[in-house]
């Protein structure tokens, strides 16, 4: 194993000291991460409702969840939302990062301005979007009606597709800056002389982007997309504020489903939803790592 070789290059006493230094951190991670995660899994094996006798039910919570149409609806919605949001964030993230990497007057100011959405707490920006989508006074309806695009106001959150798009838009607005921020750092790590060399060899703008920028940006891009994907898979706050899961329960995400179970005092089912969300996020992250050949880059 690689790790054995890795340790063998150190003295025994050095290894011991290293363990002592790492121990406090491991303890903190153990207490605040490992114990709650295992506790959640443990709770998910019980019928844990305060007014009923507590009862070990094995995997019944899981079979109940997987056989409920609400779960599949929420899973579909969460995945569709994640694909749409992350794709758009990747596209706009790369665009804005390239723009902000160029030298032009006012670049410093623009770099700060573009970060503002990311600095605002989601719950606050969700409230702002609520006002934007508002039927009577919202600016969205003001714009589409006054520009003559439509004659009647639109109830943006009134259909499943409308509510879906509204949520994606609010998410893209808020989190694209995060992708920009990471990509910008990645862009600055690409040595300028490679571009000079390519130019001398006669490579055009697009060729330079596809042959140099994109490949060298890939590791950073994959990292930022993993973060965004995991975040989107557990999205809760936008739904909580903007739609409350409506209309007709069509915009519930997995996290929202878990919240509903906890609100019903059904801690077993709430934990089950959390565990399943974790498994889904974990599986998708593995796919990313494989697809991005990321494990090779880590070495």
């Amino acid at each position: 194993m690689a790790s054995d070789n890795f340790l063998q290059q150190y003295e025994k006493s050095e290894v011991r000291t290293a363990w002592i230094f790492i121990a406090p951190l491991l303890l903190v991670v153990g207490i605040f991460v490992l114990v709650p995660v295992l506790g959640t899994f443990y709770t998910s094996l019980f019928l844990d409702v305060s007014y009923l006798p507590e009862q070990f039910v094995g995997l019944r919570n899981y079979t109940d969840l997987l056989s409920s149409p609400d779960f599949w609806q929420a899973l579909r919605f969460t995945l569709a939302y994640t694909v749409a949001a992350v794709t758009l964030e990747a596209f706009f993230g790369v665009m804005f990062a390239l723009l902000l990497n160029e030298v032009f007057p006012g670049r410093g100011l623009l770099r700060v301005v573009i970060l503002i959405p990311w600095a605002i707490p989601t719950i606050v920006s969700a409230r702002t979007w609520q006002l934007i989508y508002e039927y009577t006074y919202g600016i969205m309806n003001y714009l589409v009606v006054n520009s003559g695009l439509v004659s009647e106001r639109i109830n943006w959150l009134g259909t499943e597709f409308g509510a879906f798009s509204a949520l994606v838009l609010a998410d893209v607005w808020k989190t694209t800056p995060f992708v920009v921020l990471i990509l910008l750092a990645g862009l600055q790590a690409i040595p300028e002389d490679i571009y000079q060399q390519a130019k001398v060899d006669g490579a055009g703008l697009f060729r330079r982007f596809y042959k140099i920028t994109l490949p060298m940006l890939m590791p950073v891009l994959v990292i930022s997309l993993i973060f965004r994907t995991i975040d989107s898979l557990r999205m809760f706050d936008l739904v909580y504020v903007l739609t409350g899961g409506g209309p007709g329960g069509s915009t519930r995400t997995l996290s929202y489903l878990g919240f509903e179970a906890f609100a019903n005092d059904n801690f077993g089912m709430g934990s089950t939803v959390s565990v399943v969300t974790f498994v889904v996020a974990f599986a998708i992250t593995l796919v990313y790592l494989k697809a991005g050949k990321f494990s090779e880059q880590l070495k």
Partner: protein
Amino acid sequence: MKQKMLFFLSGVFLFVLVLLLTGCQEQPRLTFMVGGAPNELAFFEGLLASFTAETGIEVALIRQSTDSTQRKQGILLALRGHRPDPDVMLLDVAWIGQIAASNWLEPLESYGINREDYFASIIKLADTYENRLIGLPLYIDGGLLYFRRDLLQKHGFAGPPQTWSELRQMAEQIVPVEREQNPNFWGYVWQGAQYEGLICNTLEFFTSAGGGFFNGTATPVIDQPANIEALRYMNELIHKQPISPPNTFTDMKEEEVRMHFHNGNAMFERNWPYAWGLHNAVDSPVKGKVGIAPLPGFMTGKSASTLGGWHIVMSKFSDKKPEAASLIKYLTSAPVQKKLSLKLGWNPGRVDVYEDEEVLTANPALKDLKQVFNNAVPRPIIPYYSNVSQILQKHVSAALANRATPEESLKKAQSEVQEMIKSYGIR
């Protein structure tokens, strides 16, 4: 070496100190947990000070936020953990079933409380669980119809509508005329977004059609014909010759509804009593133009109002039970309930306050409210009420959004509730 030793010892000392300090907290004390707006909390703080002055019993206030979901979670955490604090707390009427069934509440009969002082129907329907008195109404809410008195007069109507079809007729006649000056004018605004308020409104529509959610406390009767008819009426308010705005089922919660009516954009409004004071505030555009009445029914006299409000209870795990009982008695005593009404505009849970001259002068609407509260219908007082509410919210909302017919959605709700009851192994 010596320094290292000192460093180590001081670390141990700090650790032990922290343990000791948290241990000291465990001394029994009387606590009262309540949330609300800053002025409400300040008011309670004053009340607790005068309670201490009167009885010599020390009591601490545990503050909560205004958000009722967060208040519920805070209370559930303490009770699930069998904590001795809080001793006394306020519960929303919708949570009582769940918390009482968990056997977390101290029965109050043995502490010398006189039930006759309070609304008899509310004590019976909301504060009694399995024949034990487990709470008292601290203040009461019920759904009301607000209407524009000036516009009714202008269009030649004698009084507010008695039935839902009258409400529609009036709105259909008034709205087109008023829209000429105000394009945002609507006939009827009510709480239709997917949240608990939707269920309060739904219960009123269903009950006033002769339907309801449950027969007794165990048999769901959600898909009965009366309910389907009522849900169809609700849908048509928004979609067929609409008199309610299209965003009723997406945006409309209490405050959205209140603001709509407040800004002069609606003829009728369904809301809780709190809106009365705000509509009549000095800077209100509809000040002096508003009237209140019981909500209409599908037949005359079949009106229904959903019971809301907060109830004061004692935790079973309280370490200061006799003192807690004195606090409950104090907060539900006639002088304090009168203050509650005069200072905060809350509707007392005691009936005798509604006869008080001073209170009636300050708030003449109380006389009508007493009638409404006497006939208020509670949401089912069952342990799994929040599950039922969630299922109903989803399906009623689907019908309002035209994603399913009223019949389909209520049939699904009925079978989901039955399945849920079965999976919990209840009866």
